[in-house]
Amino acid sequence: MKEIVLVVTAVILSLAAAGAIIRIAVGPSLLDRVLASDVLLAILGAALAIDMALNRHLNNLMLLVALAVIGFIGSVTVARFVAERREQSNES
């Protein structure tokens, strides 16, 4: 049962990561790419959580919290940066 769950979730998460990477590659604007990379980070955290649940350890829990912090800081910073740049180029 452990192996079945592992294979099923691995296939699902791989498809999801492929979709997010496609959106990062083709995404028409920078904010689309930021959003897709946020989703990719969430998928990575899901993979870490699945590893912890199936192998019964808590080694990655702080890494999960750190991933949340990094995603938060990254998307807020890029959103702020985009606003500054686009407003300047619209005025000039």
């Binding site: 979730t9 808590l58 985009v82």
Partner: protein, 130 residues
Amino acid sequence: MSPDASGLDLVIDVVTAVFLVVGALMSLGAAIGLLRFPDLMSRMHAATKPQVLGLFLMLAAIGLQMRTWWVWPVLLVAWIFQLLTAPVSAHMVGRSAYRTKHGHREKLTKDELEAVVQRAAAGQEPGSEK
């Protein structure tokens, strides 16, 4: 998961498996939403599913598998932290998306921010009208 599970252990293992698979399906749903939705605002709607509900299901699965009580507060803190940061970053992304003319304005059924932005552009403070 224990290989020779029986009784309550089997029930807990089945619940854990369901949580893990559904949590992974949240990520797949977010990826499908990212690929198929037309503009940034609707993609943001899809992108929050694995961040909140998916993470909740995964952490609940960890808590079920660890079989101890002291992990639940730790997992709750991790989830609440994600729950606090996700709306803030979504607000910042949506705000800058609106200001930089992302998305399709004509698809919105109601644009309540438009009047506020025009008042601010006309020189009035947003909260100062009588």
